[in-house]
Symmetry: C2
Subunit: 334 residues, 2 copies
Amino acid sequence: MASTIKDVSAIAGVSMKTVSRVLNKERYVSEKTRLRVERAVAELNFRPSVAARILAGKRSYQIALIYDNHSPHYIHQIQTGVWARCIEEGVRLLAQPSDAASPNLAREIGGLIDQTQVDGVILSSPVTDAPGALEELEQRGIPYVRISPGTDYDRSSSVSMDDVQAADDMTSHLIALGHRRIGFVVGHANHTASDQRLFGYRRALDKAGLAFEPKYVRPGAFDFSSGEAAGDVLLDLSQPPTAIFASNDDMAAGVLTVAHRRGMSVPRDLSVVGFDDTALASQLWPPLTTVRQPTRDLAYAAAGLLFDAADEVVHRRLPHELVLRASTAGPRKS
Amino acid sequence: MASTIKDVSAIAGVSMKTVSRVLNKERYVSEKTRLRVERAVAELNFRPSVAARILAGKRSYQIALIYDNHSPHYIHQIQTGVWARCIEEGVRLLAQPSDAASPNLAREIGGLIDQTQVDGVILSSPVTDAPGALEELEQRGIPYVRISPGTDYDRSSSVSMDDVQAADDMTSHLIALGHRRIGFVVGHANHTASDQRLFGYRRALDKAGLAFEPKYVRPGAFDFSSGEAAGDVLLDLSQPPTAIFASNDDMAAGVLTVAHRRGMSVPRDLSVVGFDDTALASQLWPPLTTVRQPTRDLAYAAAGLLFDAADEVVHRRLPHELVLRASTAGPRKS
DNA sequence: TATCAATATGACAACGCTATCATACGACGC
DNA sequence: GCGTCGTATGATAGCGTTGTCATATTGATA
């Protein structure tokens, strides 16, 4: 059914190798020949077999994206961004869910590479910080780029946003609104971003001369129910916070639900802010003030780094943005 | 670096072909030989090259999942379900975003097949109903399974839920609560599920002896803002509905936002229900009564059909479930 | 014992492409 | 006119598997 390079060469009246040259845009092909070949390719609607290319050549025209279970929204943004760049490059993308905490992670990645011979790998957080994974890739000499890595910053190229600064900005915004007691819900312990956001929160308090009070900081796990739990504890305090900063939107939704359940009005009785600007943020009531994380663009840029700067280590930092919606206001005079 | 079948055969002291037999679980290999080969495979941590297998054999050990831009949540469920089944089968999954409305869809699918030689394809709605795509697959004799197809029911194996019955159930539930004026927000015109859910709504009204009133039905597009728009129109009616049934959760969130914005209390002043039971549904305030669509299970079952029943056309219907949360109550006495 | 089917293994070609090397042609400088 | 270089093309050998066919061994049956 499908045509091969041989068919093309027969129609174009040249050798297989010349067709191969045209396909790979190699030098030393005359204009005239190239046109003849291209016409034959179009006529047969010929697509080179990826399998044969991999076997014969050094490149596989495939890269892998390895991610762990974030929110569907996050994964989707990451996939879409990487995908877009791959299309431009004519490279196939293998999307690979994984478990960053699994002891088999390195073996699985090794297997993936042996099986598919991918040309490069993109790791998204938190797989970015699994030591075994990085080692495996380096041992095999597979180029890789990390999206929002938390550790070993200089070990590979990466793209990221400034989580510390973003959390600082958001906290400062709440302080500027007049809040003095600001609750904070930390993210999942696996993710370095969690620490960074917490650090940004503390830095902003510091700069404003406000004391850091451990009782206003609650652990969370980036999911709705941990946001609910943290919100309940914070609002049960004798001196409850007038604003709560959750490290992501899902947890902010949990806080919001707790507030509603208690009959509190947001933002009159309590300001709530999140982080990420997922679809959820604008669909909640009230719409959530949050930090827009440029996830899709990060992913696009990561793929770009993989294709362009093969050798040198490059870091690209993309700007974040405060998205002010209706879930924040000044604290109520009490 | 990576070892080949030759290395394995040398260590095990058998021919390449025998190693191949063990790998593919073919008959006629003695227990003793199998063990020797398996030990050699483990020792070298050997993984067969997918590329070589494709080239030499008839199978590629890869299937493709083709989807169009639904909600990230939906895609994620679909991917996860298919993925899980593929792992069990030792088959690699190529996830392929696409545009169901594109005139190039068939060409793109053809290219995908030529390039990757996938063994089978899973189509998720609404790509399920793109005539060109089906034709292309049939012409090439590639087995395919559809998830929630809307047309040409007998053309291929498929998995689906009963959208008509589910919408009927939900509408009947609202009627049982005492509602008589029930608004309905239709889904995206591309999706056959949209029509089916509308039909189920009408059927339930019919059964209850309630008149169908076109003014209570508004178009939508499965996204938040179309839900908002529809909600606004419905609530502006001189005799506004006491309950609104949105064809998916995103649109229901839009309706909820409109209600909040108008200072209405849900469910006291208005009942709102959705469809799908996405993560969003339980994170909204109030938590949304909705239909649980078994998306992940549908996807898992679809992959199962692809692997098991290669030839015959099989349809699997999975049960839905009404999820009753806090967004519904009886209408207010007025 | 001869015959046959079932079981068990191996030799070798083939899959569709790229890498390597060889070859041919003109243009150029001396 | 001859070597040399840059350009343009082709012949052929793999890449790592599986398919095909051949062959050997066993046990059951005639």
